[in-house]
Symmetry: C2
Subunit: 584 residues, 2 copies
């Protein structure tokens, strides 16, 4: 090794030891005949010292010429510092250097390589290898590493077998757009990259593997945005001979294990909520439970009092923001403007202040007496000092709007603490959702999800009412993962495809291999997949998935650093028997 | 869970316990009013028993109708067997069944699902999910799982960070053919699938990650054959501030750890051999060291005695097969025919028998006296009872031929025992190899490999003589992995590209991002990659990589089971702005 120790490990006990260190020059200070160099590697920072008089002159000159991010090797003796720095673990010692070797010089970096940097987003993406040198960024990738190792430890201990499923697979029409890969050996034909290993993990259950997992790259050729990458990682799992409860408890166990081992947090019980309740009380299938602020429906109390807007509304619904009665007029106007923005789309916002003195003041005093407003306050369980915010309109729309407002109020009131974690299982999802555009039902989870036994009778008469054995894990309002108990017999799977608008022929062509496998002894099975990038971001207390990916793509799907994708040679395309059409 | 226990865990201590098992019907025997069912899952086999008289009649009938591979659930009581089966861990007990539930019937499987099967290769590929139910096949995948977990344990403990590198990257012209992926968002442009994460791991070193690893899928669009898959897995690693010795010892440690933990074998010291010696003594850069049979060059002893063929040869070289002097004339003729096959291509084979009585008998007695032959025997260190086999011709060709013959003799003499493991580091590979076809030098490892310092002066004058800091790990004649110390500065990297025939512009276009990164403080670094599929096959004592892949592709690159690749819809292609040309 070009070093005897890392830059993070020397302590007082090493004083007088001869050492050799290697790393990057973080900082050079030159003052009063002394030169200090902060030498950095992945493990920490150690101070090197060169002193006029006691240090050889040529060496001193060499040290003075070091620039930021030079890679050097230094030999010397560990000495005790006169003025210690207790902010870093090596702060009690420094190295009196005898010899210095520049392993590689460095150009001046395009931005400051410190936790606080002056580099903008694009510049840091372009020089991602420099961005990754910053401690705050490196720690995110180290967290990701820890998460992977601990996930595997838990899964292995729980008898799950890690199996790699193929990346070059068959294109299927369901779900998002596939990336395709032309086959040279079979001209005119294409592989697809998997959006998930769904069918393979089900085949593994048919194979008797009993418990499968994989931490696996998946691909979706969707339009990009900041927090969606064309390639992403998921923790993918499947189990045989289980019911929903077994899967929830196994993966609650994983979640608990990760919080304990990676963050030192002992998670409280994971709540359960039906999809119907989540929509009714939070307007959202992934409620943020770090704060309460449940929806209260006011139709009975607020309608028929002459306020036309409420009277005409399908739903009048509100939330109670604890202790927000002191919001100023300006703040309230801003809130009203906020809900009226096109992204939210509300027509207006009704509020009722429950003042500290017990009086009630609203924007609709014209229509409602104090007694009326008191009845609302009672419904909300409001207390003096609280602020009630009420929206109205079409039920589906208004719930969505109020959900946004609830999150905003949570944010404004400081209730969305990034160090608090509230996991939740949302269960009993509908099997189908209606798609207005195509005028047909889509599988809400995917076409392999089994309907609840007691709802099968509704498949023909009222498909929209059929509930699925499907569940999502939500943490702090973010969907971490989802899964379902699968269909494991051909007749049910065929029925499902029929309801999804597949012809028998189409279903056979696309998924015949799976349905055929079901005929050779498929066990009851179910599974789950966690979005690993997102899980890491939640653990790291961040919104940005991109921070947790070593080499992310930008919003145009490009690796800016390596300039990808790019055009390729015509002869290679010809060998693949494909031709690029002229861009219109 | 649909079971209280697995089919592998019940023992005598469980007698009288009420249990519920679930699994597959392996076998049904019906004899003298008794029905036995072997119930199988991943964990083992447990015997169920139904007895006329004591078992309910309807239940007995149900049991009689069970077919092979039915998935069932059975409740009953653990009882002690009267005649125990000590071949299986559950052989002391059986289950007296009270109730039986067919979870899923099964069609008659297309081949026998036992360790010994009647299914041919194609049939088993088509129904891979049934093949995977066979114990011998499942164990291979379980071995693979174990290998993955233990690799990660070792790497994590040695401070390596697991980092996922991108799968959608930039196409580079070096190496094998890339699979390409058209970009919809950037029409006319393509991603490539990585042949290895080489440049990314080097960027991670520039990023200061110090020690990186990944178990990662890589892709090569090469012509297929039985033991080459278009997608394959490698253990990929890189380290900073190291010299070759550090990498060898770290990965010797990994190899040792895997043998210890997965196979319970304490590996002896890993030998080292230079590439030059490997070629000289074994005719091969991946010698199988389970047996000795070193090459002995006979030019001095065998030339100038009037045997024209030897006299005209650049090299006369042989091996000594211990104890093979008793080979019959028929066997020796067969060997001669074997070396003359076009795949080997030798003109003939000279042999010398060192008979038990001390006499020497050869096919070239006409040209060589007993004393001559005795001098050969001395050179070989031969003893009575041994057989010497000699080839001659162009040095490069004859070494290759003799290498094949050596392996064949090792096989015939039973010296290639699959339970013996002889790992070897081959070091000091040449930096370049001459390609006759393109009439230029190619990088033997890859263009990022650093030349040995002491050989840099030869770069201009004699490129073919420059040795690289490159090494391969070989086990039992199979190349498990290889790596090198990398170039870490722009000038050397540019020089390397120049020698490989890149114009400055081309080099900049393809690898400018890497050379630029080198200018911002790149540490000295090096790494290695192990072929994981091959490593698993070696551990499993098998030649076939395919056995160790859950869903392998056949020799046409197809997943026969799911019928991939396949044609895809024209509108999808149009959205990707690509057009499939008519097949010529």
């Amino acid at each position: 090794m070009l070093r005897t120790h890392s830059c993070g490990e020397l302590r007082l006990e090493h004083v007088q030891t001869k050492v050799k260190l290697a790393g990057w020059v973080q900082r050079v200070r030159n003052k009063g005949g002394l030169i200090w160099v902060d030498l950095r590697d992945r493990y920490g920072v150690t101070q090197l010292i060169f002193e006029e008089g006691s240090t050889d002159k040529a060496l001193l000159e060499k040290a003075a010429q070091l620039g930021r991010e030079f890679v050097i090797q230094a030999e010397g003796t560990v000495i005790e510092r006169t003025s210690k720095n207790d902010k870093i673990p090596t702060g009690s010692i420094e190295i009196k250097v005898d010899s210095l070797n520049v392993l590689n010089p460095a150009k001046v970096p395009p931005f400051i390589i410190e936790d606080e940097t002056d580099g903008g987003d694009d510049l840091r993406m372009k020089y991602r290898y420099l961005d990754l040198r910053r401690g705050v960024v490196r720690e995110k990738l180290q967290l990701r590493h820890r998460m992977m190792q601990e996930t595997r430890k838990y899964m292995d201990a729980a008898n799950f077998i890690e199996v790699e499923t193929p990346v070059l697979i068959k294109s299927t029409p369901e779900g998002a757009r596939d990336f395709v890969v032309p086959s040279r050996v079979n001209p005119g034909e294409f592989y697809a990259l998997p959006q998930s290993p769904q069918t393979f993990k089900q085949l593994l259950m048919v194979s008797g593997f009993d418990r499968y997992f994989q931490i696996v790259k998946c691909f979706r050729d969707e339009d990009l945005r900041a927090d969606r990458q064309p390639e992403f990682t998921q923790i993918d799992c499947e189990m045989s001979f289980v019911e929903q409860e077994d899967i929830l408890s196994t993966f609650e166990g994983l979640t608990r294990h990760l919080f304990r081992e990676v963050k030192g947090i002992e998670l409280e019980e994971v709540q359960r909520m039906t999809f119907a309740d989540a929509m009714k009380f939070y307007g959202n299938d992934k409620p943020d439970l770090r704060f309460d602020m449940k929806f209260v429906e006011l139709n009975e109390l607020a309608q028929g009092k002459g306020f036309g807007i409420f009277d005409a509304a399908e739903l009048v619904v509100g939330i109670c923001a604890k202790g927000a009665a002191e919001y100023t007029r300006k703040q309230l106007d801003a809130l009203t403007d906020w809900v009226k923005r096109p992204q939210i789309g509300a027509k207006g916002l009704v509020y009722v202040k429950y003042n500290a003195d017990g009086s009630l003041k609203s924007t609709v005093d014209k229509f409602y007496s104090s007694e009326d407003l008191q009845s609302w306050a009672d419904a909300f369980g409001a207390e003096p000092g609280d602020l009630m915010l009420v929206l109205s309109g079409d039920a589906k729309t208004v719930r969505k709007q109020l959900s946004e407002l609830r999150l905003k109020m949570g944010e404004e009131l400081g209730l969305r603490d990034r160090t608090v974690f509230k996991p939740l299982w949302v269960v009993d999802f509908p099997l189908f959702e209606w798609d207005e555009e195509t005028q047909r039902y889509h599988a809400m989870h995917h076409p392999f999800t089994s309907p609840k036994k007691e709802d099968i009778a509704l498949l023909e008469s009222d498909p929209g009412a059929v509930r699925a054995n499907a569940y999502d894990l939500v943490i702090n309002g973010v969907e971490i993962g989802g899964g379902s108990i699968r269909i494991h017999d051909r007749p049910t799977q065929q029925l499902m495809f029929k309801h999804l608008g597949f012809s028998e022929e189409e279903a056979q062509k696309q998924f015949g291999f799976l349905m055929e496998a079901f005929e050779y002894g498929a066990p009851p099975h179910g599974g789950i997949a966690f979005g690993f990038d997102r899980l890491c971001a939640i653990f790291g207390g961040s919104d940005s998935i991109r921070d947790y990916i070593a080499f992310p793509k930008n919003n145009s799907g490009r690796d800016v650093m390596i300039d990808s994708p790019s055009t390729i040679a015509q002869d290679q395309l010809e060998e693949l028997s494909i031709r690029v059409q002229l861009k219109k």
